[in-house]
Each structure stands twice: as C-alpha cells, then as structure tokens.
C-alpha cells in the first residue's frame, strides 16, 4: 500500500533528530548562561582604549565595583521577584525609607549600634507587606509595587520630617567607605562590593541549592501547575517580595554608611529601574521561570561600567541618559529574541 516512492524510514533519523535537538538546546543554554558576559568584556576593553588606558587601573576598578554594589544588591532581590514572573517597583523608595530609619536610630544614644538591623528589618517589613498584598489579596505585582513606590517614598520623607538626616559618627561607617585589603598596597576590595558579592553568593545558593529555589522557578514557570503540585504559592510569593524588601533595606544601610546621611526625597530615586535593567540584561525573563543570579551580577556590572566608562571618555551627562535608555530597550529586545527560541510552546 505505501507508495513506492516513500523512502523507508531509518530509525537513525529519529535518533539523530533528537540528538541534534538537545545539542541545539545545549548551545542555547550556554548562550543564555554566558549571556551578556562577552558584552561586559567588550565594554571594558573598549572603554580602556577610548579612555587612553585609564579604565583598567586598580583605583578605577575599585570605583566601578563600589558603584555597582548597591545596584547589585537591589538587583539580586529583583531577580527573585522577576523569576516568579512579578516585578518590584518599590525598591528605590524602600531603600530611602530604610536608610532614613537607620540614620534616625543611629542618632539615638543607646540604640545607635542597632541602626543596621533596623534598616534591614524596615526593608523586610515593607517587602512582606508588598508580598502579602500580592499573594493573599491576589493583586497584580505591578499595581501593588507601583502604589508602594509612591506611598513608601512619602513615608521616607515623613520619617525625617522632609529633611536630610546627618550622622557623621554613624557606627560601622567602615562598610560604606572602607576596603578589605587582600594584598597590602596592591589589591583591596571595597566592603560594599564584598557585601554585594556575598548577597549574590547566598542568592545563588538559595535559588539553585534549596527546595525553595526550585519552587521559586516553578511558581514563575507555571503558577497553576505549581499550586496543583502542592507548592504553597502564597508562601513563595511573600518570600520573594520579602527578600526584595530586605535587600532594598540592606542597600539603604549601605548608602547610609557611605554618605553618613539620608534624604527621604532624593535617596534611591529611580534605583528600581537600574535594578530591573540589570536583571533583564542578565537574561532573566520577564515572563518568569527563567533566569540566573550570575547573569544579574553581569548585568549590574555592565551598568556600572557603562556609567564609569562614559564619564571617563567624557561623554556628557545628557548623552549618558540616552545611551542608558537605549541599553534598556536593547535588553528587552534580547529577552524577546531569547524567548522565541525557547521550549515554551
């Protein structure tokens, strides 16, 4: 019955198809994992030459790392949120409120040393409130955090009666301006960067080595399926927004220690955008379920290198805005392109 021109099927063809398919998947995974690292390297090398060799100096690299630190911490929290398919627009405001709270506590004679946990816990509190509204009242993350972006900013101003709070003798100021000396006189890393790296490392452990981590990816990949598989989706959501808030609080503490001061109006303005940009540049998908914390680190470094390099090469402040904006759009375009080839059908 089969027409005479239908070639006999070779079992090998099916197997070959499968092998080639996984090979393609593997290269795609590698591209996803390496992601923006080549871009970062190219930017560094490019700026090095454009700035007549000033980029790769110990001092400048230290500045880049220090500049990247706070954004890296915020972006780490943002990575948790975006992997679940959500967004946290309120991190800049939470950072300001936490820094204010920390500075006010630091000025109290007896409790001064507690300013650091106070700042972090303030952030955690706001994050948990965000998470509860999203997980328990089932409100959209965008709306909830857009609301708290404004509301928490207001609270931050309220805390200091809309003034700048100074404390030149703030305890632990070393974390803001000191460096960890690795090789005396040659190599030292700012404490801010050490904290940021630790945050990245712990985030990686949580995301990749714990049950909770897998559940975070699962909730982002398919929330209804996660619920049916017995995952407590509400708990996962409260956790990720809690982490984002907590890390925003830590970011606030880092800023406060660095500046010896905080201002509810100006501190952390539009930091959420830099954090989101870093996450998206790092290959984490806006749709949820896909992403890596190392990508986020690379993304945050790209932003810092871009700022630093543009200043070194003498590009005007105005053009820096334009270029950074185009980078955000390019990143989202990349996200779309990546999704096209993914297994999602």
């Amino acid at each position: 019955m089969p027409p005479d021109n239908s070639a006999p099927v070779k079992a090998a063809s099916a197997a070959g198809f499968a092998v080639a398919q996984t090979k393609r998947q593997r290269t795609r995974l590698m591209i996803r994992a390496a992601g923006m690292l080549p871009v970062l390297v190219l930017l560094c090398v490019g700026f090095h030459f454009l700035s007549d060799g000033r980029f790769f100096s110990g001092q400048n690299l230290g500045i880049v790392l220090q500049q990247a630190a706070v954004n890296t911490v915020l972006a780490a929290g943002m990575t948790f949120v975006i992997i679940t398919g959500g967004i946290d627009l309120s991190v800049g405001s939470i950072l300001a409120a936490s820094a204010m709270a920390g500075l006010i506590i630091s000025k109290l004679p007896e409790l001064g040393a507690l300013w650091l946990p106070a700042a972090v816990l303030t952030g955690l509190g706001f994050g948990v409130i965000n998470g509860s509204l999203i997980a328990l009242l089932r409100l959209p993350p965008f709306i909830v955090t857009l609301g708290s972006l404004t509301a928490v900013r207001g609270l931050a101003r309220l805390l200091g009666a809309d003034t700048t709070v100074f404390n030149p003798s703030i305890p632990y100021a070393v974390i803001g301006n000191g460096s960890l000396t690795l090789v005396p006189g040659v190599l030292s890393i700012p404490w801010l960067s050490v904290i940021a790296l630790l945050v990245i490392l712990i985030s990686w452990l949580v995301l990749r080595r714990t049950v909770l981590g897998v559940q975070i990816y699962a909730v982002g990949g398919n929330e209804s399926a996660a619920r049916l598989a017995g995952i407590k989706v509400w708990a996962v959501l409260i956790f990720v927004y809690g982490v984002s808030g907590l890390l925003a609080g830590l970011g606030g503490a880092m800023q406060a220690a660095r500046l010896y001061a905080a201002n509810g109006l100006q501190l952390g303005q539009s930091y959420e955008l830099d954090a989101i940009t870093a996450v998206i540049l790092g290959g984490t998908s806006f749709v949820g379920g896909i992403g890596s914390i190392w990508g986020t680190l690379v993304g945050a470094l790209i932003i810092a290198v871009l700022s630093n390099g543009l200043i070194l090469t003498g590009v005007s402040d105005i053009w820096q805005y334009v270029i950074k904006g185009l980078v955000i759009i390019g990143a989202v375009a990349l996200d779309r392109y990546r999704l096209q080839g993914s297994a999602r059908t």
Binding site: S13, T22, R24, V211, Q215, A226, G230, I290, A343
Partner: protein
Amino acid sequence: MFCEHRSWFLKIDQLPRRGELRFSVACAAALLFNESTRADVAHKTRVTKRLPSSARGGEKGTMSDPILQMRRVSKSFFGIKALRNVDLTVYPGEIHALMGENGAGKSTLMKILSGAYTPDPGGEIRIEGKVVHIDGPLGGRAAGISIIYQELSLAPNLSVAENIYLGREISQFGLLARDSMRAGVGPILKRLGADFSPSSLVAHLSMGQRQLVEIARALHARSKILIMDEPTTALSAGESERLFSLVRQLRAEGLAIIYISHRMDEVYALGDRVTVLRDGTLVGSLDKPQIRADTIVRLMVGREVSSFYKKDHDPRARSGAAVLAAVDVGDGQRVKGCSLTVYSGEVVGLAGLIGAGRTELAHLIIGASPRTSGHIEIDGRAVNIRTPGEALDAGIAYLTEDRKSLGLFLDMSCLDNINLSVLGQDAKLRSILDRNKARERADIAFATLSIRAADVGVAAGGLSGGNQQKVLLSRLLATAPKVLILDEPTRGVDVGAKSEIYSIIDNLAKSGTAILVISSDLPEIIGICDRVIIMRAGRIEGELRRTATSPLNQEDIMALATGVEQLDAS
C-alpha cells in the same frame, strides 16, 4: 497478530456482525453518537464502494482532478529533515484523514500549506494543477487553503461578523461598514445551520459554535481546501456529531477536507482516505475499504502493537479495602452531592460527557477548588483536604487533563519536573536539595516508564506529548500515592505511548494503588477499567461493573451519560 486487533474492535463494538466486519468497525464509532450517524456511515460506505477513490484519478471530469498535489515536498530545520519527499494528493469532495504520532510531521506539513513555513527547494505544490508558491500566512488563504487549528484563532471580544472579516474588513469612507459585513456573513451562517447571529460576541459562544465561526470564515474566504487539526478535542459528543454532519455537508459541496486526528473512531466515521505520516515520511495512504485499525496503527508506529489495552490486574486479588471515599461532595454549582469509593488495586473509570463535572469533582477531591459540602475519607478515616498539597500528603495524586497549562513546567528540566513534589521530603534539613537523590529518582523514572529524551536535564517542553505525560506521571508516582486520579491520561498522546501508559496503570493496580481514570475515550475506559462510574450534569448517574459474563459496553455507558433511558421512560 491481526486477529488480536480485530477482537479488540469487536469488543468495542459489542455487535459482531461477522459478515460485515469492516462495516461494523466503521459503525463502532458511530455508536458513540446516535442511530442517524450510523445510518449515515453506512450510506457513505456504500457510496465510496461504488466510487473507490483510487479509481478517481483515472476518470474524466472535473470532480476527479486532484485539487491539491504535493510532490517531493521536504522541509528541514538546521539540517534536520522534519519532512522528507512527501507526496500527497487530495481530491475535491473528499475527507482525507491525516494521521501520525506526535512529531511525525503533520503540523510541519500543515504549516507549509498555510505558508508559515517555506518548503525546501526541489518539491512542488500544485493547486488545481497549477504550481503555487505559498508565502507568508496570507499565502495559504490566497491559494484557497484554510486551516482550523486546535486552539481556535478567534478574537473573543469581536463579533462573529468582525471575526469572519478579520483582515479583510469592508470600509466606507474609512469607517467600518458593520451592516454590510453582517449581511455578507448571514447567508453562510444560515448554510452552516448556525444558531447564533452575525452580531453575537464570540466570547459568548460555545466551543462548537466557535468552530462553526472558523468554518464560516474559511467558506467566506472561498477556500477550496479546509484543514482541520483535531477539531473535536474541545467539543462535547453532541457538538462533535454536529461537526461531523457539517463536515459531510461540506464534502458534498465539493470541498476537500484534510482532517487531522488522533482518534480512530473519527477517522472511521469520516475518512474517505487515510494518509499516515511517520518520522517525516509518508508511509502509506489507505482507501476507504482498507481503513482498518491494525493497519493504521502498524503504519503509525512502524511495528505491531501486540495488545493495545492492557488489563492483567485482578481487583479481587487484593484485599479490596476501600482506599478513597468521597462522601456527598459538592461545590454548589457544577458538582452536586457526589459519592464514590475506590478500592485498593482497582481501576475505576469516571465517564461522562464534557461538562458533566468529572474534572470539577476531581478538583474538589484534591482541594484544588473549595468544597461546599461533603468530605473525603482515606483508608476509612476522614481527612481534611484544603489544598492540593494536603491531598498529596494524604496520599492522593492527581494527573491533570491540561498537561501544558496545569501540569508541567515546560522550561524546567525533566529532573526538576519529576522531583518537584518530593523535594521537601528528600531534602537535607528539609531545605537543602539532595541532588544525588533527585538524579537517582529521575533516572529510575526514565528507565521504568521508558521516557525517551537525551538526558534528564533536558527541558520538559522539548519532549513529545507522550513523553511529557510520562514525566508528569513520574512526578505523581514519586510521591508513592495510595490513590491516583488520572484525568484524560492519554489525551494528545501518540498510539505507542498510549499503550505504554495503559500498562503502567495496570502495573500500578497490581501493586495495590487505587486508580480513578477520568476519560472521554470510551474504548479506553472499557479496555482498562474494572468498574465505571458515570456522571451526568454534576451528579453520579450510575455505576457499571465488569463481570466475567458481561464485559462493559459503550451503549450502556452512553445511555447513562446522556440520560437517554430516562427520556424513554417518561
């Protein structure tokens, strides 16, 4: 071998008319529906016998010229051939069934005809004898080909008329001419026997009515070839039946219909010719008289499937203790006071029409939606199940009917998919992943369920339907459930994997698991179940038991599912 298949079908039929074997096979499917369909099939069989399509090519006259000829059409992706040298000829006034396992190349072929893919150079496509090049999504429509996809492509917030005119709107002075669009659509809807108006909003229509809109859209575009991809998956039995008679009407009007389906009964009921694809190659075309289950299955899988349904377990071999009992369970809307019991080592079918509330009942049992009445007992003790997580803790695992949106995590690896529900209990200190154990579980699952993928690390979304289903099943089995509720366990699964899933179910029953199978595929329920519970309109309507003397039969089940007997009595 052949005899075994024949007996399988006779079992379904339950009306062995030995003189007319083929005929009765064709009717077996029609029994699902009603007498008129059966008569219709009989009529058609006779007609096509007089006019065997193999002879048509040689005849003269317009009817016998092929409308579509594909010659040596191939398609490769990055050097991998998804379709190789396919020759397909379709005549007007013919229902041409296209079958094949998942990944056999059906959708690639379809996408070439719709213009979504460009075929490799070397082949040619002729429509009414003229070579055509189908470019872009509008190319197919321009060439007279319309495709109705499984997931209908209608805009729900637009009216029927607007949907039909989508992309070809009539405008006057730059404004939409709604009235003339409605007027243009009216006659076509009337011809199709539609019971809704051109101005109805698509969102308010049932799935069957939406399909009608799609067909109207194709007719309105003056398509000569209509491709339907598994059109009945979302339809109830009544709606499917209406669709069948409509498809036959369209055939009588001279349309060529390419009908893609996994369901044998539909192919028997409708197909004038069956073409089978396997691994991208056309392995055979059968004319009406040759259409037989064993032949098709053999062509599709490339080997004999020795026994399709497997039921070796014997519920009486076990202690027969009640494992799952649902008592008076209801949600106040779609499920009303349902009680059922499943015993250890028993496979119980839950049959009923689409919309009878079977899936909803399962969701109530596992706590996926809130109960308003009743309670659940496990091993005779009442348990309070409020979430699917608590159901898993109580030993009830549920396989969803909607694998892709409610079951799998397509971007995650098979390994993670398999381990997801047991991560907590395997973990060190209840929180740190035990990666060796996870790997081991995934490897064992791959081996015992013969999941075919290059590696446990491959994303689940890249697997075929059957392998995806097995991955999902592995996740449930990892929890070592006492009760397994399987909702449409073989939907969208190819023939070979279906058979494997049946034997997995059989083995689980042997090991004492209590299994509840929800299925709309009656031959499947009859083939694997010890007992069938039938639901209708949210209530449990009755129960049929398989005994040594009287096996289960489709007519009894359908009578309870549709409530025909009650109508007769009144």
